[in-house]
Amino acid sequence: MSEPVLFGVRHLSPAGSWHLLELLNRVQPEIVLVEGPSDLTDQLSHICAQETKPPIAIMAYSETVPIRTILYPFAVYSPEYQAIKWAHDNGRKCRFIDLPSSVFLAIQEQRALQEQRAALENARTADAVSDEAADTAEESMQRDAEPDSTVGQLSPSQHIAEVTGEDSQETFWERHFEHNLYAESYLLGAAAYGSQLRGVTNNEPLDEAENILREAYMKHEIEKAIQQGIAPDKIVVVTGAYHVDGLRSVNALTEEEIASLPKLPSQTTLMPYSYYRLSSRSGYGAGNKAPAYYELLWNNLQEGKPEHTAYAYMAELARYQRKAGHMVSAASVIEAVRLSQALASMKGFSVPSLRDLRDSAVTCIGHGNFSEIALAVADTEIGTKLGSLPEGVSRTSIQADFYRLLKDLKLEKYRTTVAQTLELDLRENMRVKSEKAAFLDLSRSFFLHRLQVLGISFAKIQHTNQDKATWAEHWNMVWSVEAEIELVESALRGETVELAAAFALKERIDECSTIDEAAAIIEAACLCGMPASVKLAVSALQRLAVDAVSIKEIAQTVHSLSAVIRYGNIRRLDYSPLVPIVQQLFLRACLIMADHCNCDNKAAGAVIDAIAILNEASLNHDFTDGERWIALLAELSDRDDINTKVSGFAAAILLERGMISNEQLAIEVERRLSKGIPADLGAAWFEGLALKNKYALIARLSLWEKLSQYLDTLDREEFKRALVFLRRSFSSFTAKERSDIAENLAEVWGLNAQQVDDMLNRATTDQELELIEALEEFDFDDI
């Protein structure tokens, strides 16, 4: 009796598609059975619709929380996609035959629960939960990957690489399968490959069980097709090469057994996919690292000329380089192709692999540096292609998650086109019983901030002027069609709002180039309540901080991080990852501060702001290097070769912190304000000193004695110059403070308070007005 044709493929394999089409045309089957959740068969018509452009993905997700998803991406060169299209174009039947998605999701759920239990036992810290959510999502992508468990020390794929002398199993596969157009070679080779792989893989028992279950179910579906009266030799089954052996040997599931499988209520949909996503989510099957390259290969395979891919690759790469303004001569392109062929021939092949092509491009076009052509390589190998679907087909899991969260957080009434305001109080609500209710507003805030990160224009935060009210937030809520579209677009970033927000933050982190930006991302991640993203952003900040040289930038970053650490408790997050980075920035600031203090008065303002911020940080956080900071301040205060205003300010801080005694201050004042020191320098020093703790200064009579003595030593011209600066120093004092100072000076000069008051409050005399006018003639040397 004849058998159905079992065609084992590697998912996303262009040569698999080529051989499969050739087989389909030859066998002319009545039905094509494809590995994929059987309840997704009704999506097939959408896949073949005119408007559908791959890459697309079929997707199923659970209706319950936490959302579990499974995803099968298809590119134009996916064998499954080509088989489905062939059946559609030739009017044959086509079905998915793998376990229904509800069963997949139920299995996934149970395994996740099991893992969580194990994780709890390992007493993992709270912030790992988010990681785990990411892991689960990752796993859902990997569920169909070829099992990668270890044989001794080496995984099977490493083992293959070792045995064949290739750099990776990818290259091995490409050389032996993707470039091979001999009839039957793929069918036989892939089946043998899959069967060997089965032999050497030590699967986890659970993986193994799942595989057997799937194969038994697929077998059942195949037998069902035969029972429906289709001749076995008119059936073609397209499945992962790994399953071919299993399908031959396993017994089909019975109806009763199928009925007893666990199920989780699920939704299915199609979603547009992107080449970028295809390549960035490693683990799913094969050929995914370089989708654009594989499409090139697919195009050339259709012409029957896989060797032309090398020309196309180099030409594409050179085109990109030229567009970006780099010179690439045709001769270099030719040399690159020749080199790639020589590399292939050293291994005994005629068609270069992707690795050969890339290395040749680096050598001949990139002058030996990968970084020179990194962007061109990304464009040529990964590409920016986006899939599209007919309107209304997509109802993705992120949409479902969004609506579920709306309900959960009691935000549904805000989903109208009429703008409303939502006021949140992030503090724990003591009057309610459950923890969930107590932190409802906090959860709402996390949710809304995540939407902001995703750029979904549903809620906008209103910045209130009460900057101290760290626990209050005001949101403007308004729903629009655009918001729905933005939501669907976000599906490409992740399956749930949280995962998508994490991905969006990661994209921002990868792109950010200044420490300000990185600090802003840290803040955003904190607002979203996503510790894993905070950690990522912190390491990005650390990376960037190495190159940042401006003291201003460093101080500002310290300032914002310090605020996050101090006021962040309201969001119930662990801020310890921020501590080392603040320490590092603080240290850097200490090390480079002295150099920055050699500046003019204009720049001194910024330096003084930075010193003030850092001083605040050192007072607020005892994890900063206080000793170093005080030593630095003492150095700044003592040095004569830096801006005197800064020196004065450093002295002021030391005074405030009780590090300078009265006597020391008196000596310092005398030194700074002595005859011979240019008036502007002396007065600027005093200005710096007066920027802080005015009361303390006013209360020190000895200080004013010194000032008075100094003024006495000046001659008329010098006095005029000093006057300008001293006036400026005192401009920041209030009227009351100024009159206190006047009284102090009066005491030094032997006058009483009454006389001072008279002096200050009487009308200005003509004589004085004359003096002031005369000053306008005075040459202040641009001061």
Binding site: E335, G368, V546, I592
Partner: protein, 361 residues
């Protein structure tokens, strides 16, 4: 083998391996080559042939060696670029030893190299006596390589003046040298190529013109890929040096070598070994070769003036000299490294940290 020379050419030292590889040859041999590309690869990265162990000559970057060999296979010339101490000349010597059994057709590039060194010059006594004749001609290594269809080496090409470098351009593209004095043009035989080496980071180097660069396939030789390889290289070379220099000190222990290599790698790459923290790299060249000489120096110091064992104090002083080359910038970077990284490394590093900190007050 005579030992009166400081150093023999590679093909003499490894004569046995080369002979064995040639004898066991199964793959097609390109014209002008003495063995197949695969055998050349095996000669360089190591392996086994008919029971004879082939010692690895270049560790850690097999793929780059493959690219280098494939380049020579396409008749292209090869330019090896890298920081000082990344085994450029070493690789170039062994490539020619394996491919031609002759690594001695070398031009050693200097600021004083002239165009005649690249093309040909004359024996002036004969030139005056007999006029231009093939006998009166002094052929350059490149000329001889073209005649015989072999590979010529050009060391330190970027040290030659740009005009002199330009002499190579037409030779490499047309593969001919014209000798107008003899109304003759020498065509290069199959198998001719040039392997040039150049420094990227050194004083006294000339930028290479785009036209010349375009005629080479460029392979950048990186520092050793992983710390284990580098520790290995450092340990072996230090032991060899200590032997030949007769240093009166104990060989540095594993832990010490690891410390030096760790610090070098981290400051060189500007990132900690675990890849988690970026660092400010310093301006000095912290190559593997530098690490070797640092340890040898410390040994000489410890042997001559100390206890015969390298202490943290010796090491800190040596590190200071190697790392802080440009006082202002490097000192800040090194201080940050000490506080952010070394300080937090735990007990093992405490002593070294303290000594370094002392020197960086």
């Amino acid at each position: 083998m005579s030992t009166e020379f400081q150093r023999l050419p590679a093909e003499a030292i490894y004569q046995k391996e080369i002979d064995a590889l040639i004898a066991a040859e199964k793959d097609p041999v390109p014209s002008g080559w003495s063995m197949s590309p695969r055998s050349v690869l095996k000669y360089i990265v190591g392996g086994n042939v008919d029971g004879l162990e082939i010692t690895p000559k270049y560790l850690g970057h097999d793929r780059l060696v493959e690219i280098a060999i494939a380049t020579l296979l396409t008749d292209r010339s090869l330019l090896l670029i890298g920081e000082p101490g990344t085994a450029k000349s070493w690789l170039s010597e062994h490539l020619t030893a394996a491919i031609n059994g002759d690594s001695t057709k070398v031009i050693q590039g200097t600021a004083g190299t002239t165009e005649e060194h690249i093309r040909y010059s004359w024996n002036y006594a004969m030139l005056i006596a007999q006029g231009p004749s093939p006998e009166a001609m002094l052929k350059s290594p490149i000329y001889r390589a073209m005649e015989s269809g072999t590979i010529a080496r050009f060391e330190e090409i970027s040290r030659c003046a740009s005009e002199v470098q330009d002499a190579l351009i037409s030779i490499l593209s047309e593969k001919r040298i014209s000798v107008p004095e003899l109304s003759y043009e020498l065509p290069a035989k199959k198998g001719f190529a040039v392997i040039a080496t150049a420094n990227t980071r050194d004083k006294g180097v000339n930028e290479m013109s785009a036209a010349l660069k375009r005629r080479f396939n460029i392979v950048v030789l990186p520092s050793p890929a992983d710390i284990a390889t580098e520790i290995d290289i450092v340990k072996t070379r230090v032991a060899q040096l200590a032997g030949s220099l007769e240093l009166q000190a104990q060989l540095p222990g594993d832990e010490l070598v690891e410390k030096v290599v760790t610090i070098f790698r981290e400051l060189r790459n500007g990132v900690t070994l675990d890849g988690k923290q970026k660092l400010k790299p310093t301006s000095g060249v912290l190559s593997t070769a530098e690490a070797i000489s640092l340890l040898a120096n410390s040994m000489a110091l410890a042997g001559g003036f100390g206890t015969g064992e390298i202490t943290d104090y010796d090491l800190a002083a040596a590190l200071q000299g190697a790392v802080v080359k440009d006082e202002d910038k490097d000192s800040v970077a090194f201080k940050e490294y000490l506080e952010n990284i070394l300080k937090k490394r735990g007990e093992k590093w405490r002593g070294l940290y303290k000594e370094c900190k002392e020197l960086n007050k």
